[in-house]
């Protein structure tokens, strides 16, 4: 991004659309942190694209005044990849739910991590399916009672941070929607990270998840110890595997080439260049 750094306010990024999340929904915290992060970065609304899938959380783009793409369930990352690869100068930020990211979108998640395209992905993790009204999700715990698991889920919950690290993500963090300041910083750093940044963000769904509530996460989480070094992958894995307490902050960061860097500078190639190549090929086949 080469956007001129201008003074911007969080309000500049609010759209006219009424936010329809339930009162108390954690997603409000993520939205506000995002407004602040975008303002802090000084972006122009025209240069940012907010991409999402389908879910309560995925309604996100409508609440932001930038360009946006509200895709289909599970395909936010491929769509974002298409945007970023074809228009590297745009700032692409992706939002979505835990179901969108880790159920139907799990394959794309793994590949976005290893492909390491310069985008930031914030998962609003409420450990439940909100929009479809309360089924268990890939991050629900064993035993979680939901409409599709009336006697409790039989599957281990996914550990998003471990999955990200194992898949090769180069920026892996955990946030909590009720820590807006920390979250804003994680998003800003994620955006500025050169490569694919993953922020799994606890964001309670008071309507359908009565287990992983605001209080639950408030009690279970604590910031990563100050001495944690995000460049140390082994330490990052250890901290990510810990569930008592659940740490918040930047677990892992690896600097290096993003996919774009590896592919090299690209232009859209003007008409003359195109014609020259096609003529050359035609000559080859004659």
């Amino acid at each position: 991004m080469t956007a001129a750094v201008v003074e911007r306010k969080a309000e500049d990024f609010k759209s006219e659309v009424k936010v329809t999340w339930c009162p108390g929904c954690g997603d409000f915290g993520v939205l506000n942190a995002t407004y602040k992060a975008l303002a802090e970065q000084g972006y122009d609304t025209k240069d940012v694209v907010v991409v999402s899938g389908i879910g309560c959380s995925s309604r996100f783009p409508f609440f932001v005044s930038t360009y946006g793409f509200h895709g289909v369930h599970g395909r936010a990352l491929p769509i974002a990849t298409g945007i970023k690869m074809s228009r590297p100068e745009l700032e692409v930020v992706v939002f979505g739910g835990d179901g969108d990211a880790f159920a139907i979108g799990a394959g794309h998640f793994v590949h976005a991590c290893r492909r390491n395209i310069d985008m930031c992905y914030v998962i609003m993790d409420n450990a439940v399916y909100g929009l479809t009204k309360g089924q268990y999700s890939p991050t629900s715990h064993v035993g979680f009672v939901s409409k599709t698991t009336p006697t409790g889920s039989s599957e281990e919950g996914i550990n998003p941070l471990m999955l990200a690290i194992a898949s090769g993500a180069t920026y892996v963090a955990r946030g909590f929607s009720s820590k807006p300041k920390d979250l804003t910083k994680l998003i800003v750093d994620g955006i500025n990270h050169k490569g694919f940044a993953v922020i799994d963000c606890y964001s309670p769904c008071p309507t359908f998840n009565k287990v992983n509530t605001f209080n639950y996460w408030k009690d279970e989480t604590t910031p990563l110890p100050a001495e944690h070094d995000p460049r140390d992958r082994t330490a990052a894995i250890t901290m990510a595997l810990t569930d008592d307490p659940l740490y918040l902050g930047l677990f892992y960061q690896k600097e290096g080439d993003s996919f774009g860097d590896r592919v090299g500078a690209r232009s859209t190639g003007d008409a003359a260049q195109t014609q020259a190549l096609v003529e050359k090929l035609i000559a080859k086949y004659s």
């Binding site: 025209k46 298409g82 945007i83 690869m85 745009l90 394959g107 590949h111 090929l281």
Partner: protein
């Protein structure tokens, strides 16, 4: 070069990986350089390794439309190739077999000549690898192809490896020629007439190369795909070429991802495409619907293969018309184009990109296995004649009047004070052809959200009855407009005939030759093959149908997919002509459908 016959079909068959492909390729290039029209067809084995590979080449000095029903010459490298090929060798045909490999049984009417390929290469030349070049020499001698073209090609191909290799190969070529001249009395009967003088300058490419070339020429820069036979050819061609003009090809993790990426790139203002085949299309239908709803231009190239399911990946079928026209849940208007020849593949691919940009919607471009994998000598494309369309954007409207939020332009922007005051009307309903200018990320004042949910003119989610009704109509208005832009249909035959054949895709070529053959038998037939299959170009079809007593619809599938579309939307009495064997129609099969009897092959 003789002054003999002007249409020969030769088939080279052998174990896959044994050089059938390189023998064929070399022979084809020699013939094309010598000025002949060529058309090839390849039937690879089902096996991963080994199995029968058949490479059929037709040579003539007039344009060719099909691979040829029967063989003049069969060059069998092994017994399996003999057994498969002998069934279509003409009664007076020539069988050449590698006598080091097998000996065919006696007793048929055709000529049989042993060609000890392996022996010549190994024993005589001490150059076992030269076997294919010996074969090319033999083929060249039979057809009377000028040796200098072969020599020059070998020079070009092996020059880098040093003079010794070049000379060995040239010796092998000569050995093949010599063997024919010494051992096949009367070999001159297979010599081609002189190449026509007035033939236009040609290039030899496959259908898939034509699609790739046109993709480059269209200005498309972003291709996302997942390998699949036979569409990988397109993907791989572009993976090599696109980066040379600053483009990029990404091999996605699957077809869902590939289509998602294409949608993203199309949204962001860049022409993009994905090449795939049947199973990939099935996986892409959900995202195709998204592209339609969000009104994102994109091109999906489907090199059809035989289905359903994994089916027969290397076999031919025109079985994906249903999914092209009707695939996806809900009502997803889209444009479907098909091409009839390798040359047409080039021009229709360009049309596909142009229509996608014009109508801001997905365009499905149908190629097929026969067309994608066959080579043809086609007139050299003239790029100066090519039109490139770019999409209507906010910028093309003159932007936002300089004030950054579009105030004052109530046609394209929400009125001040209204709920969406100042916002860009991305989906402006006030449009006769359904097309509304699109803002491209980076354009100030155009900020909007693309979505697959139903939405109002501003792209805001609405479920009310009026919105769904008017937006559905907007999306379908594009089809009403697009049909006017249908490329001219392919026409052939006698417009006054009482019998008409409607067909599509590469079957058009076979039907063309059938029309000729039937004319020789005194039967007048008319032929049409629309290039735009959906929306149905009624303005092209209705005049064709009028006055016909019989209308046959010929296609390589079981149910008669195009016949269904026709019957559904253009009531008429259609006779369905279908095969579903994994192979294209033969000319004889089409003739038979018209005459109602198994056709005695036209003597020639």
């Amino acid at each position: 070069m003789g002054s003999g016959k002007n249409d020969f079909v030769i088939r080279i068959g052998g174990e896959a990986g044994e050089g059938v492909q390189s023998t064929g390729d070399l022979a084809v290039q020699v013939a094309a350089r010598a000025g002949y029209y060529v058309l090839t067809s390849r039937v690879p084995p089902a096996e991963i390794k080994g199995g029968l590979f058949e490479y059929q080449i037709r040579l003539a000095n007039a344009p060719l439309y099909s691979q040829g029903d029967e063989l003049d010459i069969l060059l069998a490298f092994n017994e399996e190739a003999y057994e498969s090929g002998i069934r279509v060798l003409k009664p007076d045909g020539l069988l050449i077999y590698d006598s080091a490999e097998f000996t065919p049984p006696e007793g048929d009417s055709f000529r049989r000549v042993a060609l000890p390929l392996t022996d010549i290469a190994k024993t005589q030349l001490k150059f076992a690898l030269g076997k294919n070049v010996v074969a090319v020499g033999a083929v060249g001698a039979l057809f009377g192809l000028p040796i200098e073209f072969g020599q020059r090609l070998l020079q070009e191909r092996f020059g880098r490896k040093g003079e010794e290799i070049v000379n060995k190969n040239i010796a092998a070529l000569q050995a093949g020629i010599d063997y024919v001249k010494e051992n096949i009395p009367g070999y001159e009967q297979y010599q081609l007439a002189n190449a026509a003088e007035s033939r236009p300058e040609t290039i030899v490419i496959t259908g898939s190369q034509a699609v790739g070339l046109a993709t480059l020429a269209s200005g498309c820069r972003h291709v996302f795909g997942y390998p699949i036979t036979p569409a990988s050819d397109v993907l791989e061609f572009l993976a090599t070429e696109l980066p040379k003009v600053g483009g990029i090809v990404i091999q996605a993790e699957d077809e869902l991802a590939a289509m998602g990426m294409v949608v993203g790139a199309g949204y962001s203002g860049v022409k993009s495409m994905t090449p795939t085949s049947g199973p990939g299309v099935s996986l892409m239908t959900e995202l195709l619907g998204l592209a339609l709803m969000a009104e994102v231009p994109l091109v999906l190239v489907n090199v059809q293969r035989a289905g359903p399911s994994t089916g027969m990946p290397t076999r031919h079928e025109q079985g994906d018309l249903y999914i092209s026209v009707f695939g996806g849940h809900g009502e997803v208007p889209r444009i479907v184009l098909a091409c009839t020849t390798v040359e047409d593949a080039f021009y229709q691919t360009l049309n596909a990109f142009n229509l996608a940009e014009t109508y801001q919607m997905p365009v499905i471009f149908l190629s097929d296995t026969a067309l994608g994998t066959r080579s043809e000598a086609i007139p050299r494309p003239d790029l100066s004649q090519v039109t490139i369309v770019n999409r209507q954007t906010l910028a093309s409207l003159g932007g936002v009047n300089g004030n950054g939020n579009g105030h004052g332009d109530f046609y394209s922007f929400g009125q001040e004070g209204s709920e969406e005051g100042g916002r860009f009307k991305r989906y402006n309903l006030n449009s006769a052809n359904g097309v509304s200018p699109m803002a491209i990320p980076g354009e100030a004042g155009g900020e909007y959200v693309a979505t697959g949910l139903e939405h109002n003119e501003y792209g805001r989610v609405r479920y009310d009855t009026t919105t769904h009704k008017t937006m559905t109509e907007k999306r379908f208005r594009k089809l009403t407009a697009a049909v006017e832009d249908a490329p001219p249909a392919y026409r052939y035959g006698d417009p006054t005939a009482e019998v008409g054949i409607i067909t599509w895709g590469s079957t058009a070529g076979t039907c063309t030759e059938a029309v000729d053959r039937l004319r020789e038998q005194g039967i007048a037939v008319d032929l049409i093959a629309p290039k735009m299959l959906w929306p149905l170009p009624k303005h092209q079809l209705t005049p064709f149908i009028e006055g016909k007593k019989r209308v046959l619809v010929a296609e390589v599938n079981y149910q008669g997919q195009f016949a269904d579309l026709l019957a559904a939307r253009l009531p008429g009495n259609y006779e369905r002509v279908n095969i579903y064997t994994g192979m294209p129609f033969t000319v004889a099969e089409i003739c038979e459908a018209v005459t109602g009897k198994a056709e005695a092959l036209a003597a020639d």
